[in-house]
């Protein structure tokens, strides 16, 4: 197990390294030089004030989404659950966009964005909970209702954008999910939030592992399943809201990462929750690096210097492909 952690950590470090050199205008040699204490003021500014916080925010948001996804899938016993398809992410986006559009929050008051995203995420999850009704325990029904809820929330977000287009520039970033332009302020807000709720999620690892066995077994083994599930959902919503407030609705990370983490670390969540955090960090960081590299290639090919590919577009494509795989082999057997 510790070897798997070591391999993944090494992979994350490699992704982080690529991310640091992937941007335009600085060769790897220059980056190395700046890291060693050299470089001129501009280069130092780019690396330490732009690229480093962006890297950290990508790592943190990825970890949040990975853990949130695993918590959701375990608490709902649903391999198709993820913050994106259970109304949590679209709700958080709506919250953030609405608060910004109404002038309650913005770049000057980033904490308000987190709170608004959290409220929105809770509302989205609650909406799904009410809509799904008795079909809650059925993964397929939850997925269908999740699509409905996501569509409705997405529509509401679009309405807010039409009514209050003033802050449009910053708002669009939440819709796709991007690490572009993330600075130390975002990181300072993200890490305590992620750490606190991540720790809370880990403390629930025992009950969550038991919830994976099904409510009947969990209850017979002495777990108050409904209470444990409510606490777990709270953690998942808070973690998702933190990530959405920092980088926006990164598509499918929360759905994809838990499957990778479970495949690597197994079903004991004491190990797999930290594992999902690491996988999530590696995936988002790697996708961001890949997005930057391909932006450079695309920009050269298309001869448009300002073209940038948002990382959310990349994770959405990757995640959709994986979702297809999961749907094809979702287990429905009982014993």
């Amino acid at each position: 197990m510790s070897r798997r952690f070591a391999v993944l950590a090494a992979l994350t470090v490699v992704c982080a390294g690529v991310e640091l050199v992937a941007g335009r205008g600085m060769s790897p040699a220059v980056v190395w030089d700046v890291l060693g204490g050299g470089g001129d003021t501009t280069e130092r500014h780019i690396l330490f004030q732009l690229r480093l916080p962006r890297l950290l925010v990508a790592l943190g948001a990825g970890a949040c989404l990975g853990v949130a996804g695993l918590v959701l899938q375990s608490a709902l016993r649903n391999p198709l659950a993820g913050p994106e398809v259970t109304g949590v992410t679209p709700g958080a986006v709506l919250g953030a966009v609405a608060a910004t559009g109404l002038g309650l929050a913005g770049w000057e008051s980033p904490l308000a964005v987190v709170v608004a995203a959290c409220v929105g995420g809770c509302a989205g999850a609650a909406l799904l909970w009410l809509l799904a009704g008795r079909g809650r325990s059925d993964p397929a029904q939850t997925a269908v209702h999740g699509v409905l809820v996501s569509a409705v929330l997405g529509g509401l977000t679009a309405m807010v954008l039409l009514v209050a287009p003033g802050e449009l520039g910053s708002v669009v970033q939440w819709l796709v999910g991007t690490t572009e332009g993330r600075v130390w302020q975002h990181w300072h807000l993200l890490w305590p939030w992620a750490l606190a709720w991540g720790a809370a999620a880990w403390l629930l690892a025992g009950p969550l592992t038991l919830l994976r066995c099904g409510d009947d077994i969990a209850l017979a083994a002495g777990l108050s399943a409904a209470r444990a599930r409510a606490l777990a959902l709270l953690c998942a919503v808070a973690l998702t809201a933190g990530a959405v407030a920092a980088v926006g609705a990164l598509g499918f990370v929360g759905l994809l990462v838990p499957h990778l983490a479970l495949a690597v670390f197994g079903a004991d969540l004491r190990v797999t929750l930290p594992g999902a955090a690491l996988v999530g960090a590696a995936v988002v960081c790697g996708a961001d690096a890949a997005a930057q590299l391909s932006s450079r290639l695309l920009a050269d090919a298309l001869d448009s210097g300002r073209l940038t590919l948002p990382v959310g577009a990349l994770t959405a494509c990757l995640g959709a492909a994986l979702l297809l795989l999961v749907v094809r082999r979702a287990p429905s057997r009982t014993f």
Binding site: R77, P79, W202, L203, L204, A205, G206, P207, T209, L210, R212, C213, G214, D216, I217, L219, A220, A221, G222, L223, S224, A228, L262, A263, G266, A267, D268, R270, P331, S332, R333, T334, F335
Partner: protein, 273 residues
């Protein structure tokens, strides 16, 4: 009998809106006894077992465990005293046998105790009790039906309770594995002095392995006694709605049923007794 671990249902009523399930059940299970619950589908035997495990609360009456009202115990406190093996369980993707059996320790260890490393001796003993140590690191979902049932029995045993409730533990198993599971239960009960209540579909198993048979019909107890007293052609007709004969096993002496054909369902189901 309030000081030892027996179970007692007193005037238990339970139902869902518009659908009564149990209509006044009185039943006493003596400490250390092996009791079989029998009856047709929907007669309320599984419901009675869930009430005895504290998973449901009676609408009227009460269920006592060693003299304590289950309604006053928390879920975890109840699970420290009673283990229930459900009839079926969903798949648990990626979970190994040892991990699943370890989940049985939740009631004893609590949410934070489960975070600590290591199995306790109870988990090792439970794996040994049902003979699955050699598969401990295999995936539960990769096992055969009979093997999985033993693993689930081990999870219930890991709760280390004095009372073991089994809801049709032999469903879906072939005869070999049915006897395997039942013999394991009988052996452990003798070794540990467990109180065991099983819902059984197969009257042959009930007549052979149980010391006492409680028959339910329409949410009421209609027969209660040793297999020799209870298993009669009358019981076959009244409780199981089949016509048949009853003989004796030539070596063991326990009743053996020879069911013949099903009887038509009665119109006034509620007034049989």
């Amino acid at each position: 009998m309030t000081e030892s671990v027996g179970i007692r249902a007193e005037g238990v009523h339970f139902g869902y809106p518009g659908q009564p399930v149990l209509r006044g059940v009185d039943m006493t299970v003596e400490p250390g006894e092996l009791t079989a619950l029998i009856g047709l589908n929907g007669c309320g035997k599984s419901t009675l077992l869930r009430l005895a495990a504290g998973l449901l609360q009676p609408d009227e009456g009460r269920v006592l465990l060693a003299g304590d009202d289950l309604a006053r115990l928390s879920r975890r406190a109840t699970a420290r005293r009673v283990a229930l093996l459900h009839q079926s369980a969903p798949a648990v993707p990626g979970m190994t046998v040892r991990q699943l059996v370890r989940q049985g320790r939740y009631a004893a260890r609590g949410p934070l105790g489960m975070l600590r490393e290591g199995d306790d001796p109870v988990v090792r003993r439970a794996l040994r009790d049902v003979g699955v140590e050699q598969w401990a690191e295999r995936d539960v979902d990769a096992l055969s039906g009979g093997e999985r049932q033993r693993v689930r029995l081990a999870m219930a045993l890991a709760q280390d309770t004095r009372v073991l409730l089994l809801d049709e533990p032999t469903t879906y198993l072939d005869l070999h594995h049915q006897l395997d599971v039942l013999q394991t239960v009988v052996r452990l009960r003798e070794e540990r002095g467990l109180t065991v209540v099983m819902v059984l579909h197969d009257l042959a198993h009930a007549a052979r392995f149980a010391e006492r048979i409680v028959a339910l019909r329409d949410g009421r107890v209609v027969a209660d006694g040793t297999p020799k007293e209870v298993v009669t052609p009358g019981l076959l007709a009244e409780v199981l709605r089949v016509a048949g004969r009853v003989g004796r096993d030539p070596e063991g002496g326990w009743p053996v049923c020879y069911p013949d054909h099903p009887l038509p369902a009665l119109e006034y189901e509620n007034h049989i007794h």
